[in-house]
């Protein structure tokens, strides 16, 4: 069974209907909204699978179905639906993960009185994301894009009584909106330049070849192609949603939402939207590559930002103590990898990694959720520990997810998708710095994930919650297991010598390599992963933390280092004094930048706005209004002064008359009466 393009709207419509149902259901009803949401997701999953099946019949064919939205002046604004393998795969991904997260949530939020509301928002989130995936119009994409933002705002701030949650929700919305403004400008520019809001429109759409040729050959005053400018503007939007440097600041804070929401945001919906957008408009991004004179391509910018983000996220993840924050920075880093892949020209690799990452990151977050739930909302990894024995399923699945995220060779999905990215970066002719950044990131990833696993699951329980933790209920374990299977197995869909997924996504041929061609790289990256694991084990594995208050080895400051020197091996101290301090410094500087410079920049922008507002208010209230009052008062004052001149003396009146007569006579004589 396949789904025709004209029925694609059903995919987002089913969760949307569930959402409306959930939001308007009586406050007291708990099961109805949940059932509605699950039903909607199952239906959407079925429809998505059907759509994917249809798309895979002939991956090179794009099915579109357009409709008129409204008419302004003489122009009709047309929107539409589009089905290709990219959309199909993404739909299945989103609905599947959405369904698993929803199942997990039924258990995770079982005590929350507003659980019905939660499922309403969740359905809205998924619906908006699905709409974004299957649209054939940048405008409709933008609309869904903003609705994704709204839903994430509502979900991050779900526990709105907590000021931190409310603030985090606002921060997420505002930061992503900064990017959205770039998107909006790019959108109107594209519409202005092409006259169409559609991607594919029989040659007239924005992504059709004739249009692209025109866009890339129209040069702006600076020597850039119009397509470069529009592409970069769209990338600003994508950077906001996908947490790219320097707009990544909202992502870690978004942890204030319920943990299933974090899983959804970090895996399938919110942050995936930016990468998906870049993949969708990739022809536009790449359109200027043909012009050798242009000094700076749109994709170059994407690659640079992606590399910086990949590295930064990984570095920052090292210094975090909140289990969810480590994962959050890890997401930032992985999204950087995806952008890096797009920047170096391999959007297929990016989407491949997006898909695998979605599963293992959802797995990790839900695993973290399971831990948090079991330990009565304990998120500080210094106060966890020793859970491996108590939560066997959670530990096992979490470990599999960790392996996938690190990219342990051959078995785990993350290995293959990361290999694809690194392979593409290696072949990029412009610069090798992104490739190098990617390699460093691999080490760091392995390092911080090792630390995380060691701190959370090994050693002894260092807090009340961890000491009495029990395995989570079945409704939570089930999704974990399903996700773990996917985290391991999905990589096999895109092996270098059997690139099934790549071929389908590309909609055409994909170069098939023997395993041997990239073998050198695989060896290197495996070595790097092992290096990271080793380093992690070196710091955290050898001597298990026993006290929650004990200083983190990496954050040790000077006196601590001296004290350690006195009683430890010289080699240990050397490591601590050089690599350890450098790491700590790096992490601290990065944290400082994150906290003060970029957070500060946001803060400063707010302050500036406030100052301007203050000045404006001062001008309003003390300047213009006072001016009005002063003028009135001045007028009245002059009136009063004049009124005083009317003394009431009859004779002075007569004198005025005489003077008046004289003046009138003089005026007349001067003018000369004719």
């Amino acid at each position: 069974m396949t789904l025709s393009a004209s029925l694609l709207w059903l995919i987002p419509a089913t969760p949307l209907a569930a959402s409306v149902f959930g939001l308007f259901a009586p406050r007291t009803a708990r099961t109805l909204p949940i059932a509605g949401a699950l039903l909607g997701l199952v239906a959407a999953l079925g429809l998505s699978v059907a759509a994917l099946a249809g798309a895979l019949v002939d991956p090179a064919v794009r099915a579109t179905s357009d409709f008129a939205w409204f008419t302004f002046g003489a122009q009709t604004l047309r929107l539409g639906w589009l089905l290709d393998p990219l959309a199909g795969f993404m739909c299945v991904l989103v609905t599947l993960i959405g369904l698993l997260v929803a199942l997990f949530s039924t258990a995770y939020l079982r005590h929350d009185p507003r659980i019905g509301r939660f499922f309403g928002f969740l359905s809205l989130f998924v619906a908006a994301m699905l709409g974004l995936l299957v649209t054939n119009s940048l405008l409709l994409l933008f609309i869904c894009w903003e609705l994704v933002g709204l839903a994430s705002y509502l979900l991050i701030g779900f526990w709105y009584e907590r000021p931190a949650a409310a603030a985090a929700a606002k921060k997420a919305f505002i930061t992503t909106r900064i990017g959205d403004l770039g998107f909006l400008i790019g959108l109107v520019w594209l519409h202005q330049a092409t006259g169409s809001a559609l991607f594919h429109d029989g040659g007239a759409g924005a992504l059709d070849a004739p249009t692209l040729a025109r866009l890339s050959s129209t040069l702006l005053p600076g020597g850039w192609a119009v397509s470069t400018a529009i592409g970069l503007l769209l990338f600003v939007g994508a950077a906001g949603k996908s947490g790219q440097f320097p707009l990544h600041v909202w992502l870690p804070d978004a942890m204030e939402g319920p943990t299933p929401v974090s899983a959804l945001i970090h895996a399938a919906t919110m942050v995936a939207a930016g990468v998906f957008l870049m993949a969708r408009v990739f022809p536009l991004m790449a359109a200027d590559q043909g012009l050798a004179t242009v000094p700076f391509h749109a994709l170059t910018g994407v690659a640079v930002i992606g590399a910086v983000t990949a590295l930064l996220g990984a570095v920052l993840a090292v210094a975090q103590n909140d289990i969810k924050r480590v994962l959050a920075y890890s997401t930032v880093s992985q999204l950087g990898y995806m952008m890096l892949a797009i920047g170096v020209g391999s959007w297929v690799a990016a989407v491949f990694h997006l898909i695998t990452h979605a599963f293992f990151k959802a797995l990790l977050f839900l695993g973290a959720g399971s831990v948090i739930d079991a330990t009565h909302h304990e998120q500080d990894l210094r106060r966890l520990g020793g859970l491996a024995g108590r939560m066997r399923v959670t530990f096992a699945t979490f470990a599999l997810g960790t392996g996938a995220l690190m990219g342990l060779p051959f078995v785990f999905s993350g290995f293959w998708s990361k290999e694809a990215i690194l392979h593409a970066a290696e072949g990029w002719t412009v610069s090798h710095l992104p490739f190098a950044a990617g390699l460093v990131g691999v080490v760091l990833t392995a390092f911080y994930m090792t630390r995380l696993v060691l701190e959370v699951f090994f050693g002894k329980a260092r807090g009340e919650g961890a000491a009495h933790a029990e395995e989570s209920p079945g409704l939570m374990r089930g999704p974990l297991v399903v996700l773990a299977v996917a985290a391991v197995g999905l990589g096999w869909l895109g092996l270098p010598n059997w690139p099934w997924l790549q071929t389908r996504l590309q909609g055409g041929d994909w170069p098939v390599h023997g395993l041997g061609e990239g073998f050198g790289l695989m060896v290197v990256s495996t070595a790097l992963v092992l290096l990271g694991i080793g380093a992690g084990w070196w710091w955290y594995g050898r001597v298990k933390r026993t006290d929650a208050r004990a200083l983190d080895p990496l954050a040790r400051s000077w006196p601590a280092v001296h004290a350690a020197l006195a009683g430890r091996l010289w080699l240990d101290e050397l490591y601590a004094a050089t690599v350890g301090r450098a790491f700590a410094m790096l992490a601290r500087v990065a944290a400082f930048f994150d906290r003060w410079v970029w957070g500060g920049a946001v803060e400063a922008a707010g302050r500036t706005a406030e100052t301007v507002g203050q000045v404006n208010r001062a001008v309003d209230e003390d300047g213009l209004n006072a001016g009005f009052d002063n003028t009135s008062e001045h007028l009245r004052g002059s009136g009063r002064r004049y009124a005083k001149a009317q003394t009431g003396d009859a004779q002075s009146y007569l004198r005025v008359v005489a003077i008046g007569l004289a003046v009138v006579g003089v005026l007349l004589l001067w003018g000369g009466v004719r």
Binding site: R27, A68, W69, F70, T71, F72, G73, A74, Q75, L139, F142, I143, C144, E146, L147, L150, G157, Y160, E161, R162, P163, A165, A166, A167, A169, K170, F173, I174, R177, I178, L181, L184, I185, V188, W189, H191, Q192, G195, G606, A609, E610, V612, G613, Q614, N616, R617, D620, L624, N625, F628, S632
Partner: protein, 507 residues
């Protein structure tokens, strides 16, 4: 055309209601007032049903000689823009009236004044001769003044004076402009003047009166309209007035009366002075942008709900004007952008009316539960105790900040689409305003609705009652419906906008 004097009825019925209230002391005030107030919506819908959207020009016209010696006519007519604003008035007026009369012990005088105000606003939207138009324009101030002064807050006296005097000072400019036009052409009929302008004779006739007269007339009309709209920096009467007026009146001021200014910009400046508008477009664009950006920035600093909403209104109305001025400077080859900008301005005018109304109703609800206090600091965690209020203000708020799917986005998209094609820098600067809007609206939302219940919300804080829901629900539904299907209203203005874009003298 139809024999039924629909437009006369439209204007006269609220006034008749006021008369009835005055003459009939024992009248059931609320019922009577609402019937006559709602007549606008009924007649507006009838007019819309009989409106042929494919034709340009005016429909439902009525023209009778009024003062033959001065060639002044009683001339009413409806085009798409008028229709849009009449419908807006029809929707908003009952909302405003309900808010005004809420919890009022002796509602008679207030209802009477409000009906007068409503009729005057309608007159402005349908009159096609300057004389009746100006009568309604000015007359609207009288009931507004008394409503603000009589039922407003502590500082209402000063606010009402500032409002009336500033607006009247602006009206002097309008009067001057039309005195000059009349001196030059011997007519004050909008249609006739537009005809003269279309034939290219108007500037010559004006210059014949005196060298500086064309500029004088343009500046006069500009100032008069700019105060009403308001255009930065002539907005300074606004924050205090919106803050001190009774909520229902502030609602009507921002939803309908500010649209009188926007309407005037289109009906008068755009049609009669396109050349002057083009010459000064850059400066005006800068001012409008100033309103959009600084308005939002200023709103960020406010701690008073209604002052914040006032600046928010400045921000939104300024976008209409940004679009208008950008379109005025349009160049050949950008007709689509001009159409987008103009459509956007009109759609935005309508949508802002809806969302601003809803926000003011919510502000009124908050105020009434906090003993009249409007400070953010007096609230906190309202969402927990009054979820319905929170939900509905959420819809209005997100509509106001231009969330797609709600009505506010459509106008903003069209405006940015148009302005970007005509003056890209303005669009880029304008986005700062969008960002600041989101920032202050969410800040307001966070401080008042989120967090643990505090301030007034810590005490007994009832959720919306049935009356308030009945007022807000239609607005919320309209916001969603028009966000999803803006095609419900755009067909009315399309021929108009296309015509404007086609006749614009573009170099």
């Amino acid at each position: 055309m139809n024999e039924l004097p629909l437009l006369s009825l439209l204007v006269a019925l609220p006034w008749f209601g006021a008369l009835l209230l005055w003459l009939w002391p024992k009248a059931p005030v609320r019922g009577l007032a609402f019937i006559f107030c709602a007549s606008t919506l009924v007649l507006g819908v009838i007019a819309a049903a009989g409106f042929d959207p494919t034709r340009t020009g005016y429909q439902w016209t009525e023209r009778h000689a009024w003062i033959p010696s001065l060639r002044i006519d009683y001339h009413l007519g409806l085009d798409g823009m008028s229709l849009l604003l009449v419908l807006l008035t029809g929707v908003v007026s009952p909302v405003a009236l309900a808010t005004v009369l809420r919890r009022l012990e002796s509602p008679r005088l207030a209802a009477l004044l409000f009906l007068l105000l409503q009729g005057a606003a309608l007159g402005v939207f349908v009159a096609l001769d300057f004389f009746p138009w100006f009568i309604c324009w000015e007359f609207s101030l009288v009931p507004a003044f008394f409503l603000i002064k009589g039922w407003g807050g502590a500082g209402a006296g000063r606010a009402a004076y500032t409002f009336v005097v500033t607006t009247l000072a602006g009206s002097a400019g309008l009067l001057l402009a039309f005195a000059a036009l009349y001196a030059a052409t011997g007519t004050m009929n909008f249609v006739d003047l537009a005809q003269l302008q279309a034939e290219g004779r108007l500037p010559g006739l004006l210059t014949a009166v005196g060298a500086g007269v064309p500029t004088l007339a343009f500046v006069g009309a500009l100032v008069g309209l700019a105060v009403k709209a308001p255009l930065f920096p002539l907005h300074t009467w606004m924050p205090a007035t919106y803050a001190e007026a009774p909520p229902g009146v502030a609602l009507f001021l921002t939803a309908v009366m500010s649209k009188m200014g926007v309407y005037g910009f289109f009906r008068i400046l755009w049609v009669l002075f396109p050349a002057d508008l083009r010459v000064h477009a850059d400066l005006l664009l800068l001012l409008a942008l100033g309103g959009a950006v600084l308005g939002a920035m200023a709103a960020l600093r406010q701690t008073d709900v209604r002052r914040m909403l006032a600046y928010s209104s400045l921000n939104h109305v300024s976008y209409c004007l940004v679009a208008l001025f950008a379109a005025a400077a349009g160049v050949k080859g950008h007709e689509v952008a001009v159409e987008a900008a103009l459509s956007g301005a009109l759609v935005q005018a309508f949508n802002h009316g809806l969302s601003a109304s809803a926000l003011f109703v919510c502000a009124a609800a908050l105020e009434s539960r906090a003993g009249g206090s409007r400070e953010f600091a007096r609230f906190g965690g309202v969402r927990a105790v009054a979820p319905v209020l929170a939900g509905m203000s959420g819809v209005a708020l997100f509509s106001s900040l231009g969330l797609p799917g709600l009505n506010g986005f459509v106008g903003e998209f069209l405006i940015f689409r148009g302005v970007f094609g005509l003056a890209p820098w303005a669009a880029v600067v304008g986005t700062v305003g969008l960002l600041a809007t989101a920032l202050f609206l969410l800040t307001f939302w966070q401080r008042v609705f989120h967090g643990p219940p505090a301030g007034a919300a810590a005490g007994p804080f009832p959720d919306l009652d049935r009356g308030e829901i009945a007022v807000l629900l239609p607005l919320c539904v309209l916001m969603i419906v028009l966000g999803v299907a803006p095609g419900l209203i755009t067909p009315w203005i399309n021929p108009l906008v296309t015509g404007w874009a086609a006749t614009l003298p573009m170099p």
